[in-house]
Subunit: 638 residues, 2 copies
């Protein structure tokens, strides 16, 4: 296959591409982002460029006027490259996300913005094996060229070969693929790679490339949390995870929890800004991981997102306002498959975007995905899943039933909204012990790196250790027992790592405000768990496993979590820490159509318990605002 | 439901619309055509307007810059009307088809351009009843409002009600419907009309409107011929034909047959111009019939097109060049369902466009549709369908087999390319008799209107009468037998109606050149029919019915057609004149999903015989270049 050098201005980026590639695809390969609202179908007319030098061939289009044509303006998605080229992207065609205002940005978060970081891969989820049936697939085909005895059309010839290779009947293709097909097939001497995408009830032809590119097919899965966005790059052909990154959701600038986000969305330009912010987080992870692994963005053909209901609304720019109004009904829990570009995700222009179906306003697809990955819906025994995030979700169930509830915990367990909080990445304090006599503190950080802050599991361990060592009372007040405790304008604080003891620019401390924060968070989750159990007349003795999910670190000390009253005081053997179960379930769905269908079944089967109308919940919450609890008989071991 | 008055500038058209309607929908209702390349999904950003007065509410969109917003620019598809309004459509947002050059336009055609005319409804097709399952459907629903015990999302509530009403599972919806849903449902107090569209393997939600609009659902079917475009407006709910119009295909300016069109498509801007021309013909018929019946274009939700393979390529702006290159392979015979707007058809922005599947480069969906409407594929007996158009197609078959072939006849039978030719509409001479002794001519016109020209059936009758009266010899030379015959610079001509005898501005004549034209056309069709029969070893005694289809008039004198050698000299009882069988089959498919599936089966079953490589075809053709034939034993009755 002939190859040409293409340089894009004003980015001044050069890339080598095959003959007959579109300018849009070449730009994406070069990391130049051209506006393509319609996903490269040639209808929106927004991807205008000027070909300064070289030969390009444009398919007929009504989107370029004769006057523009004279000026050398081409539509990037409808124009193929036929020689070395110099191409200028017109200003109006450049993708520029609206600038996210930093005025309201929480100062605590600032250090962690921007660069997404690699996260250690917590892969502790009990794996249920689904057959490998990726949602998008690239198939290399050597077509028999037509002759007078075999004169079916180009498109049917391709469909026939796909059917022969995979037993699959293609029922849809965008027009632009058909418009390009004749030339691609003939120039590639009938040896091409077809990309297929699966939608409910149908298989779609997403694209046709010359030569054998069957190995170059990638997807992304995302867990879109209120505070944290986590993404994974997956090789579709073998379901291998190539990389994982997490970053704070840039929407945090507009409010810490879903309620404040929904309120912000009602403001002038509010929904646009929230949408642009999460897009920056998502596209940042995509561009970071593809660059690191030298993967062409055109080869990213599928993105699957799990997230709470509000996050999915904001991802798709759907008004979330009804979520917070009685009777708390979202616009949609089950989202149809759309193109990534429709949401603003810059991957292959025809790439498909899947959203895991949610259950209710406060129980989203992330919970569906978590249940799937823990296989709760397949188990004979009754199990619990407690997903600890800014919104805490609890699911109780078995293969017979599934009931979910949710409680607002705030972002403290994700290291946000607390004085020295940080995401669980290198340098985060995740384990803490305090000597009973000397009050000397021993900290363990992720990857053993110099301490930079405290992640969720670190806070749990810190408070548990402080309780054990007598630094903290049951109400959450710090006692003046050592010179590590000091009084500030805002109450007492305890120094974990003094400035001199680490590379941190300042002391790493935990304040009474932080502890109050964590206390309210743990009370909400504990009360929700207990209320759900009571409502369904279960006691913990009947539960086989308690799956603990969340992004607070690779290691959560279950004993510490019980000691602070976050988790109930039951046999520790019942606990299984499963990390980000939403992301794990998303991965299973991306590479298995069977898992995707399973997720639909889980969502359809799961019922929702609204706590705000549940008698007893508020009492349970108030009673849990102590360490571990006002009713100590519930925590006999602590 | 509250209603508001909306006026559009510069058209200065006013319309009354319901609250929450989009500006785009209001404009379409008012007959103001705004560019909407993406079909109103809010992604292309081309439907910009300025709201001069009144209150409008825009859904969040990235397609309008802050600067534009300040200037009062709104995206018409994303903005709903909340009061009386004055709206200006920006120049760049106006739909203006490229001007079709008239330089190359055949002078003969000029009088018939522009206004589409009503055609008498030839509905002689033997009807096979399919169940009434229209491809799009409007369903009125009174939803149960959500409460705390029934808190499924808006979209699923709608899906649930649709399932309850029709047993149908919706599996797709465009994002913009979901974005608008919450407001429409609540403003309409949960009483709405949902529009559903059927695609292979799935049902799509096309739109949601307030109140009961279930009766307001319309579709169009088209037979897109090389020379003539015929359309029908159908009421989807009861399959009633509200009106029929036909017009010359404006592509005729660029060549009379498919080969010259394909060659023109290779020129700079050629494909664009051909596409724009056929769009003018199609949209002209749509706007004419909807205006006449006071139907809102938003209520046209489906268009189904049957046409020859080249016409369908040009309709969708697909390069047809491979059709005329050995081995004559089109880009696609089976076209996926797309949106009408993708092709440029200005109806409901989410309306679906279906194209009847074709068989080969020269046997298109019009033939599939014709076979369906004559039910040849269901018959125990062997039947023939002869479709006489610019491209003549012949199908031989039964429920056991279907074989098709095609021959280029030219546009003469459609009244094009002949000196006094016209479409079969009021004033066209369709029956002629000539007194053997006095050579007095008696003409019968369509609707008895004053004679304006001669349509296809009129030419056949004229030549047959001239032969019978001895005015014409077997080779096609006019004999100087009367003062109605005169010599001109281009040979002899025969006067059918002298200037003084009718309201025509000039004499209505038939020339030797016209007769030569018809002779070549009839020879091509006769030779193709006989060659197909021979190839499959059939003789006419084995044939039960010979269906004659074509747009040459409401009445074709079969005896005249045999006398000139167009049709074989067999028992006249075998002939059935079925008019435009392609349009009839298209209508069946539009209102019956079963018929649509049947068409797929017909296309899959039909095989194609390429005449150009068939030994004996050229000999048959040469032998047929006489009236009726060189071998008179084949026409014993004439």
């Amino acid at each position: 296959m002939e190859k040409f050098k293409v340089t894009f201005y004003p980015d001044n980026k050069t890339i080598e591409v095959e003959k007959d590639r579109t300018i849009l695809a070449a730009a994406l390969s070069a990391g130049v982002y051209i506006n393509s609202a319609c996903g490269g179908d040639g209808v929106c007319g927004r991807c205008k460029v000027i070909v300064k030098e070289g030969i390009c061939s444009m398919l007929p289009t009504g989107a370029i006027s004769l006057e523009e044509k004279k000026r050398g303006v081409y539509l990037a998605c409808m124009t193929t490259i036929q020689s070395d080229c110099l191409i200028e992207v017109l200003p109006e065609s450049r993708v520029e996300f609206e600038h996210v205002s930093v005025r309201n940005r929480d100062k605590r978060l600032e250090g962690f913005y921007g660069a997404a970081e690699d996260v250690p891969q917590a892969d502790l989820v009990p794996r249920l094996e689904f057959s490998h049936l990726p949602l998008t697939e690239k198939i290399y085909l050597e077509l028999v060229p037509p002759d007078l005895n075999d004169h079916i059309s180009d498109l049917e010839r391709l469909y026939r070969a796909i059917h022969k290779a995979r037993g699959v009947q293609v029922s849809h293709s965008v027009l632009v693929n058909i418009r390009l097909l004749g030339q691609v097939l003939r120039d590639a001497q009938w040896k091409v790679t077809a990309t297929l995408g699966k939608r409910p009830g149908m298989v779609e032809l997403l694209g046709v490339e010359p030569g054998d590119r069957s190995g170059a097919n990638y997807g992304f899965v995302f867990d879109i949390g209120t505070t944290t966005v986590s993404g994974q790059l997956i090789e579709m052909g073998n379901a291998r995870v190539l990389g994982t990154k997490a970053t704070y959701n840039k929407q945090a600038s507009f409010g810490a929890d879903v309620i404040t986000r929904i309120m912000y969305a009602q403001k002038e330009e509010g929904l646009e800004k929230l949408h642009a912010a999460v897009m920056e987080s998502i596209n940042g992870i995509i561009h970071g991981l593809t660059a690191q692994h030298r993967i062409d963005l055109n080869d990213v053909t599928a993105v699957l997102c799990a997230g709470n209901t509000t996050m999915i609304h904001l991802l798709l720019r759907i008004d979330p306002s009804s979520i917070r109004k009685d009777p708390y009904v979202p616009a949609a829990n089950v989202i149809p498959v759309v193109r990534c570009h429709e949401a603003g995700i810059t991957v292959n222009p025809h790439g498909l975007l899947y959203c895991v179906p949610g259950i209710a306003s406060y129980v989203g697809g992330d919970v569906t995905s978590g249940v799937l990955s823990c296989a709760i819906d397949k188990a004979d025994d009754v199990n619990i899943l407690i997903d600890i995030g800014t919104n805490g979700e609890i699911v109780l169930g078995s293969k017979e039933f599934l009931v979910a509830t949710a409680a607002s915990a705030g972002p403290a367990f994700e290291g946000s909204g607390v004085s020295c909080g940080m995401r669980s990445s290198a340098g985060a304090i995740q384990k803490v012990s305090i000597d009973k006599d000397t009050f000397r503190v021993t900290c363990e950080t992720i990857e053993g790196a110099p301490a930079r802050g405290i992640c969720g599991s670190g806070y749990i361990d810190t408070i548990a250790s402080m309780l054990k060592a007598g630094v903290l009372d049951k109400a959450g007040k710090i006692k003046q027992v050592s010179d590590r405790v000091r009084r500030t304008g805002n109450g007492m604080e305890f120094i974990l790592v003094a400035k001199g003891e680490s590379e941190a620019a300042a002391d790493i401390v935990i304040t009474e405000a932080d502890i109050e924060n964590i206390k309210r968070a743990k009370a909400a989750i504990y009360a929700a768990t207990v209320t759900l159990m009571k409502r369904l007349s279960f006691d913990f003795g009947q539960i086989a496993n308690i799956f603990i999910a969340g992004g607070f670190g690779t290691s959560l000390d279950i004993r510490s979590a019980i000691r602070i009253g976050l988790l109930p005081d039951v046999d520790e053997k019942k606990y299984r820490f499963v990390g980000n179960s939403s992301l794990a379930g998303a991965r299973q769905q991306l590479v298995s159509n069977d898992a995707l269908r399973n997720a639909d079944e889980v969502a359809a089967k799961m019922t929702y318990l609204e706590l705000s109308v549940e008698p007893g919940y508020m009492d349970e919450y108030m009673a849990a605002l102590f360490f571990p609890h006002t009713d100590l008989t519930r925590f006999p071991h602590f």
